[in-house]
Amino acid sequence: MRVSTAANQRKPVSGWSKKERHYVYLGLAFASPWIIGFLAFTVYPFFGSLYLSLTEYDLFSPPQWVGLQNYEQILADDRFYKSLGNTFFMAFISVPITLAVSLLIAVMLNFKVKGINYYRTIFYLPSVIPIVASALLWTWILNPDFGLVNMALRTLGLTDPAWLLDPRYTKPSLILMSLWGSGAGALIFLAALQGVPRQYYEAAQVDGANWWYRFWKITVPALSPIILFQLIMGLIGAFQIFTESYILAGGKVDGSGSLGGPEQSLLFYAVNLYQEAFVFLKMGYASALAWILFIIVLLITFILLKTSGRWVYYGGE
């Protein structure tokens, strides 16, 4: 550091005056709480976990270097594939559905009707409920015998599944739950909707475009940067899904019994990682799992951003 700034000093091109340098230092000093925090709590753990992923580490004795053994074991582990499959299901089925529904809600909440502010509040309300409370609430709504959902289904003469107990229905149950909380996403869409210039719709209307056309040709393209943002955030969230499974699929205090629910249908990636790390005390293995997850999320985000040029329009283009 010191050497390079000293070198810069001699070069007039990039050289800072004494005063400028002083301000840079001052700025750095003011930013230092964040810089130190970032180095200590983000950068250090980040590379620390990379190192640990190449070791066998049980928390109590010092880590032992094992090279790529953890990664080899993960690739041969049934539970890894099971948890990855469950997580992909949530990422690629639940996230798009939730996005579509929140967009729909946003469009409806953008209508000019009386009392719209109340509707907006009501739709947003579920998002402020803590996830643990809402998960417990949903165990009752989805109760096969007394739950509201099955009561409705029975009245309609449809089958009434054993939602949270039948392995085929556990993940759809979670999707249902996440739909209930889609008001938060809707709020972001709503804000964006109100930024779409009115004259586009007016011009389209003059040209005779119907509601459907206006939605697909104006609203969706205008919102596409927001859709991309929500999609990426949603995917990242889906890859980290943990609480719902832990609450609904019985995380016992003593860590006994298996997490993940009937037939491990709710064994998500983060749940598996938690179990390996804190129940089985395999920190090295869990770090390797975390790195694989990081690479998967990185890849998916990269692909999304690369392909987004084809469907995302930024204003002014």
Partner: protein, 436 residues
């Protein structure tokens, strides 16, 4: 002027940094003095932190014992902390600032002990002449591995068969099933299903404790001689077949639907209390719950039915424990040990376990009159003396083993994997972990 602002920002920065870490400034001894006790604590008293997992009334029972200790031992003051988040123990031990004494579940003792998180207690046990023979062998073995003792079991749990006398009488049975073939007949007769297969009542939930029945069939999860894990042991297979046979009579769909409609375990709607189960396999705490939630229930407690071809294995059971241990890195292990030793003496053990409605681990505590008031304990204390009680083999990988076994057990019952295939999977996954 500008130099000054540079210095100010540094001061600010340091005050933030030190302010963050200042929370743990040592306050040795000062808290102990506020606790009410007959004997005022000595000036140079050692203060021990004791983290336990019990909460509510159970924690109160423990605190009463701690207060007793504190007034008798002014030089060693114990400060209890109800800390049901066991993760905290992990972080405290690895962070080098552990509690002086802590409670744990028996199944974690050997995994933690072998990794060096718990102090071996053998030297203390030998020095103070603690009679390990007084302990129930299956309970003690949960905290021992290859001759080392990592914790002292203070309470144990074992399951027996509970039956609803009224429902059994209605069906024409005078007493509980004694053998496993009796059990199957009872279950069939006591279960009530609608024409469409929907269950109204179950004789016994078929996804029952596979460990208990494995031991009834003389099953074993580990073969010492060959150092092989044996989830495919014939006895375990018999236990799984028994569950599977009952499971398949009703099918996953009906069972899932039935079980999802059942009430909370700790409530009057507990399926056994409300007559949805005619029988259940459960632990020694259940009579206390029955007294609390459903005092009118007419029930009986019976031994686990035995296998006719293994009559010598009558009164079998699966023991789990709660233990006290000394974490690695404590400052005063001698003082910690004194407290643990006192807590696990028959008298204190009886006082604590009787208050909890848990079983004691020492034979000499069984006869303590305190248990006379605990519902169901006549049967359970008798049963605790049975020679056929076993516990899951303690090992560094016991948690992985049990998790994998119960996952495959679930899959086998639901028919997504055959029994042979499922148990092979357990073996393939766990055998490589056998190294200690």
């Amino acid at each position: 002027m500008k130099k000054k602002s540079w210095i100010w920002s540094l001061i600010l920065l340091f005050s933030i940094v030190t302010g963050c870490s200042g929370g743990n400034a040592p306050q040795a001894g000062s808290d102990a003095g506020e606790e009410p006790s007959d004997n005022p604590p000595a000036q140079d008293a050692v203060t021990l932190d004791f983290w336990y997992g019990w909460t509510g009334p159970e924690a109160e029972a423990l605190e009463a014992l701690i207060a007793k200790w504190n007034s008798a031992n002014p030089d060693i003051q114990v400060k209890g902390l109800s800390q049901s988040d066991y993760q905290k123990q992990l972080t405290a031990i690895t962070g080098g600032n552990p509690p002086d004494i802590a409670s744990q579940f028996g199944q974690n003792v050997v995994p933690w002990g072998l990794r060096g998180a718990m102090m071996p207690l053998d030297d203390y046990i030998a020095k103070d002449g603690v009679d390990l023979k007084d302990f129930v062998p299956a309970a003690l073995s949960t905290s021992q591995h290859e001759g080392k003792t990592y914790a002292i079991p203070t309470a144990m749990h074992v399951s027996m068969l509970f039956y609803n006398k009224d429902i059994l009488q209605e069906a024409g049975y005078d007493g509980p099933p004694e053998t496993i073939s009796d059990l199957k007949k009872y279950i069939k007769k006591l279960s009530v299903a609608q024409d469409d297969g929907r269950l109204q009542r179950l004789g016994l939930w078929p996804g029952m404790d596979a460990y208990t029945f494995s031991y009834a069939f003389n099953g074993s999860f580990y073969d010492e001689a060959t150092q092989q894990v044996t989830p495919d042991h014939p006895g375990i297979q018999s236990a799984i077949k028994l569950s599977k046979e009952i499971w398949d009579q009703y099918g996953s769909d009906n069972l899932d639907r039935f079980s999802s409609g059942l009430g909370q375990y700790m409530s009057a709607q507990n399926p056994f209390f409300s007559g949805k189960y005619a029988m259940t396999i459960d632990g020694e705490w259940l009579p206390t719950f029955i007294k609390q939630y459903s005092p009118d229930l007419n029930y009986g407690i019976a031994p686990i039915p035995y296998d006719e071809s293994n009559p010598e294995l009558k009164n079998s059971g699966n023991v789990t424990t709660s233990v006290f241990y000394i974490p690695k890195g404590v400052k005063n292990p001698d003082a910690s040990w004194k407290f643990i030793k006192w807590m696990t003496e028959p008298e204190q053990m009886a006082e604590f376990t009787a208050a909890l409605g848990n079983l004691p681990t020492r034979n000499s505590a069984f006869s303590n009159p305190l248990y006379e008031d605990v519902p169901g304990f006549r049967e359970f204390l008798d049963y605790s003396g049975s020679e056929n009680l076993k516990s899951f083999p303690a090992s560094s990988y016991a948690n992985e083993y049990m998790t994998e076994f119960s996952a495959q057990y679930d899959a086998i019952l639901r028919g997504t994997v055959s029994m042979e295939e499922g148990l092979d999977k357990v073996k393939a996954k766990i055998q490589p972990l056998v190294k200690w």
